[in-house]
């Protein structure tokens, strides 16, 4: 197994606020890592340091073995932010095409690739409609489709299934597992606790540190509780 993401003793402050104190985190090929934590715990900061949008104050973030920030590496990462971040006046196809060009995906076969990712999120019939007419769930799906463009070896998804109905959520998770089997590495943050049962490993981020890092079943055993939600609550109590 090859390490795709490796954060080593990463610390990051904004002004006097120490968001990350000492974070060690790793993600390997063929693995789905769920990043859990209360809001304000620094999940987005972990993602931003990983992407090289923010530079760590101490420690280093390695992606594909190279120290971030490194602009060229961003082409190999499929990223989906918490906000939908779409050009509302444009069609879904124009959005996909634009971000494909930004990622540097080959023009050849681009149309087929756009149809493929639209199919994954069941937006194939809506490709030529303006995004402004989309429902919240459709926007979320399009945002995910953009991250899937070019079949990137590393996917970083910040709350990917917020506002998506259960049937489709199941479909998206099936696709993520499918990609995992093909050797992709996936970093997911989520608030939905039953989704946390679907990942290979859960990293619990609290107080600027990763306080637990194991498979969901192992964590439940370790804390002696029946679900990840209980693990979360118990860990939060202990932290206080």
């Amino acid at each position: 197994m090859e390490k795709v993401i490796s954060l080593e003793k990463v610390a990051k402050s904004f002004g006097s606020l120490k968001v990350l104190k000492d974070v060690d985190l790793s993600l390997e090929t063929g693995e789905i890592l769920g990043l859990l934590g209360p809001s304000g715990a620094g999940k987005s900061t972990v993602i931003n340091v990983t992407l090289g949008v923010e530079k760590a104050d101490a420690g280093t973030a390695y992606v594909f073995g190279e120290a971030m920030p490194k602009r060229e590496l961003l082409g190999k990462i499929g990223y989906m932010a918490q906000s939908d971040a779409l050009y509302e006046t444009l069609t879904a196809r124009a959005n996909l095409k634009f971000f494909a060009e930004m990622r540097g995906i080959d023009k050849e076969g681009l149309d087929a690739e756009i149809n493929r990712v639209a199919g994954v999120v069941s937006l194939g019939d809506f490709l030529d409609q303006a995004v402004s007419g989309f429902s919240g769930g459709m926007k979320r799906r399009l945002s995910l489709a953009i991250a899937l463009l070019g079949d990137p070896k590393l996917l970083v998804l910040d709350e990917p299934t917020v506002g998506i109905d259960p049937a489709l959520r199941r479909q998206i998770w099936a696709e993520l597992h499918n990609m995992k089997k093909q050797g992709h590495a996936i970093l997911v943050t989520t608030h939905v606790m039953d989704e946390a049962e679907l990942v290979d490993r859960v990293a619990l981020l609290m107080g600027g540190r990763v306080i637990a890092n194991d498979g969901p079943k192992q964590l439940e055993e370790q804390y002696g509780v029946p679900s990840i939600e209980d693990v979360f609550l118990k860990a939060e109590e202990e932290e206080e």
């Binding site: 992407l51 949008v53 490194k70 050009y87 006046t89 634009f98 930004m102 990622r103």
Partner: protein, 365 residues
């Protein structure tokens, strides 16, 4: 390069779908120019009403014969004064003794006041000349000579720019051409980048391998194209429908406007990083846009205090307006406006570099 093109293509596509902004960019200048043209053409020469109290017939007659002047005679000073208060007359001329007059102005409209002053003064001067000529005739007749025929002076007028129909509007036209381009590009580009920031598309864009410079150049390319179109609309409208004369080359006009648009764009992008919302962007109009207008040359520079002139020197609009004036009104070529062009280029380079550096706030590489 492909990314720069893709970004500018996307900006243009977004704009094409925003019909109202499009209309604003192209129809608003046309509408405002038409209004300005109408306003300044109609009021080119005001008519003044002068009230007279006990004024000699000779004087009132010659006042009456002046064009754009009407006179009304009043019996008493108090009646004339109340007419002045009621805005029936613009000034009251009272004779207080032989060759002694008093002139009271309403002074509500400065242009009318100065016109009355000019008319009255020239009337007195004329009467003096007439009286002297009369005296000469009398003297000549007494001496038994034929009075010399007064030779009429002929004056033919030629205009370097325009014709006798040239109004104030024509002379401020070049400034307005540039100003519209500046204002619209500044506002729309600033708001457009701001929207990218607030909707998160900028973060998403910066999570791709795109260079920061490619984003800035992408914006520049698209807005250069928009400035060209806007200039084309404004120039062709003013030349063909408003009959404004352009002495110099239209190509130079485009060059100046495109440069000015680029500067406005860079300034808009930079200022938008200081704004948290569209509303805050609008708040920059009085701070950034209005001074450009004040120091563009609509108010003559030599009438300003020297410290105020220095402010003008750091505003890009002044250089653009100077260059536009030189091309439109004086027909100057590139050789006499290169200084202004260089000044605009310096603004452009400095502001662009600041923008590319400023995007570091949102991504560290």
């Amino acid at each position: 390069m492909t990314r720069t093109l893709a970004i500018s293509k996307r900006i243009l596509m977004e704009m094409m779908r925003d019909k109202r902004t499009l209309a604003l960019m192209f129809l608003a200048p046309v509408l405002i120019l038409t209004l300005l043209n109408y306003v300044f053409t109609l009021n080119s020469t005001p008519t003044v009403e002068i009230g007279t109290v006990r004024v000699e017939q000779v004087v009132t007659d010659s006042l009456k014969n002046t064009s754009h002047v009407n006179t009304k005679s009043y019996d008493s000073e108090s009646k004339a004064k109340s007419a002045l208060k009621d805005k029936d007359v613009d000034a009251v001329l009272t004779q207080t003794g032989t060759n002694q007059y008093q002139l009271r102005y309403a002074n509500i409209d400065a242009s009318k006041t100065s016109m009355v002053r000019q008319v009255v003064n020239s009337t007195f001067a004329q009467n003096k000349v007439k009286a002297m000529a009369q005296q000469n005739v009398v003297l000549a007749t007494q001496a038994g000579q034929q009075p010399a025929a007064t030779s009429s002076v002929s004056l033919s007028e030629k205009y370097n720019y325009g014709s006798k129909n040239t109004t104030f509007f024509d002379t401020i036209m070049p400034i307005f051409m540039g100003f519209f381009v500046f204002m619209f590009v500044f506002l729309i580009s600033g708001i457009s980048l701001l929207k990218e920031r607030t909707t998160g598309t900028l973060s998403r864009l910066l999570a791709t391998p795109v260079r920061r410079s490619e984003i800035v150049y992408g914006y520049m390319l698209s807005y250069a194209l928009i400035a060209i179109l806007q200039t084309a609309v404004i120039v062709s409208f003013t030349i063909t429908l408003l009959h404004v004369e352009v002495l110099g080359s239209v190509g130079l006009l485009f060059l100046i406007n495109i440069l000015l648009a680029m500067v406005a764009l860079a300034l808009g992008l930079l200022v938008s990083t200081l704004a948290a919302s569209e509303f805050q962007m609008i708040q920059f109009i009085p701070i950034v846009v209005v001074p450009q207008m004040i120091f563009s040359g609509i108010i003559p520079f030599n009438s300003m205090a020297s410290w105020a002139q220095i402010i003008g020197d750091v505003l890009p609009m002044k250089y653009a307006a100077d260059a536009m004036n030189a091309v439109v009104l004086q027909g100057q070529g590139f050789s006499s406006i290169w200084g202004q062009i260089v000044a605009l280029l310096i603004f452009l380079v400095v502001l662009t570099a600041a923008n590319i550096f400023g995007l570091r706030r949102y991504r560290k590489v």
